[in-house]
């Protein structure tokens, strides 16, 4: 099997290219990255929480992440996800070295895509913070109450 370094190098180069083309607007251009992969699998859920739970199960079973936990604030719409042991972390390390902020999170894109598709709610990634030392990412997300 090919060394994963190859994919990490090429993926990070593509992400960097996108950032240098669109700057901060690149956030909004990367929202679909990952969704083709999840669409190969049938995910179910009648509520946001069920969809999140089933997507997280999928992400862990497919070795994309080790663990994903989340909490929401009192508005019930602002969610904070903590992702541990993600395969994309080495890519973020490369990008950080080159001064590119984290703006693509395929695991969260997958979850939000399924919420939009199955529940019909509007969703938006608010920000992404990478903690290389702890091997985690914090991704804050808005899941609206309506479309």
């Amino acid at each position: 099997m090919i060394d994963s370094t190859y994919f990490q190098d090429t993926f990070s180069a593509l992400v960097k290219s996108l950032y240098y083309e669109r700057g901060r607007g690149a956030y909004f251009r990367a929202a679909m990255v990952g969704r083709d992969y999840i669409d190969r699998t049938e995910i179910r859920g009648d509520t946001s929480e069920e969809v999140i739970e089933n997507c997280v199960k999928f992400l862990v079973e497919n070795d994309i992440t080790e663990k994903v936990v989340y909490k929401k604030d009192k508005s019930d719409t602002f969610f904070t996800f903590e992702i541990k042991g993600c395969v994309h972390l080495p890519i973020e390390e490369r990008l950080k070295e080159q001064g590119v902020p984290a703006f693509v999170c395929p695991p969260i894109n997958i979850i939000l895509h399924k919420i939009r598709q199955l529940i019909g709610l509007a969703v938006e990634i608010a920000d992404i913070t990478v903690n290389q030392e702890e091997g985690t990412c914090i991704v804050r997300v808005v899941i609206f109450k309506q479309q």
């Binding site: 083309e21 607007g25 909004f28 251009r29 990367a30 929202a31 679909m32 604030d73 508005s75 602002f78 939009r116 509007a122 969703v123 938006e124 990634i125 608010a126 920000d127 804050r140 808005v142 609206f144 479309q147």
Partner: protein, 224 residues
């Protein structure tokens, strides 16, 4: 017509057109004649372009249902993005100069609702600037065409506003492309609202030239 190179008066006219142009978000309920729209698009057609790519294509939208759908996509997109910025505190940073808490709350509410982009539906005409992708300099070419169009519109007494909200997010972008039946190989670049202005916005602050100009290398100021 301003064609005389080296004519100081003409230069000042151009600068005046540039400096007095505003983004117009409220339009009179008055139709824009086709001949004026054609002048605007003609100005776009003569924009600089890399390798003579001429990436620009224009869709003139007058149909109320289509405009309404574009307005809806724009409103939803803006609302989502500003709400996310509200939760992260970025919106607060943007408004740090505004001390009146009541006004600030009102502004936040307006931004979070996305209504700031809803006016797109009420523009008499939307010229949707699209781009052919198989050229080298797509975003720059269509941006230069769009600016030409805005300046021409202003010189004709019309107002314009570029509304990126329906295409800023890639998911919305796909909805917009589907709505306008834009084929693969092209993209929607910049929807441009056009109409007779029903407002006179004040100029927004601009950086002073000395703050943004460097000499010979980035960050190097002119020796005084």
């Amino acid at each position: 017509m301003i064609v005389n190179r080296g004519n100081r008066g003409a230069m000042e006219d151009i600068l005046t057109i540039m400096k007095t142009r505003r983004s117009i978000r409220r339009f009179k309920n008055q139709d824009v004649p086709d001949e004026l729209l054609e002048k605007i698009m003609e100005a776009g057609r003569w924009a600089p372009r890399g390798d003579n790519g001429q990436a620009w294509r224009f869709i003139v939208v007058r149909d109320p249902e289509t405009k309404s759908a574009l307005g809806r996509i724009a409103t939803e997109g803006s609302g989502r993005r500003f709400t996310a910025e509200y939760f992260t505190g970025r919106l607060e940073e943007r408004f740090e100069g505004l001390k009146d808490e009541g006004k600030k709350a009102k502004a936040f509410q307006k931004l979070r609702s996305g209504v700031v982009s809803a006016f797109l539906a009420d523009a008499p005409v939307i010229i949707v600037v699209c781009a052919y992708l198989d050229v080298w300099d797509v975003p720059y070419d269509v941006a230069m065409a769009t600016q030409n169009m805005q300046l021409m519109a202003h010189s004709l007494g019309l107002g314009t506003c570029v509304v990126v909200a329906p295409v800023c997010d890639i998911v919305d972008d796909h909805k917009t492309m589907e709505l306008l039946k834009v084929p693969h190989g092209y993209k929607v670049a910049l929807p441009l609202a056009v109409g007779y202005p029903d407002e006179s916005p004040r100029p927004r602050p601009r950086w002073a030239l000395e703050d943004i100009v460097f000499y010979e290398e980035f960050g190097k100021r002119r020796q005084t």
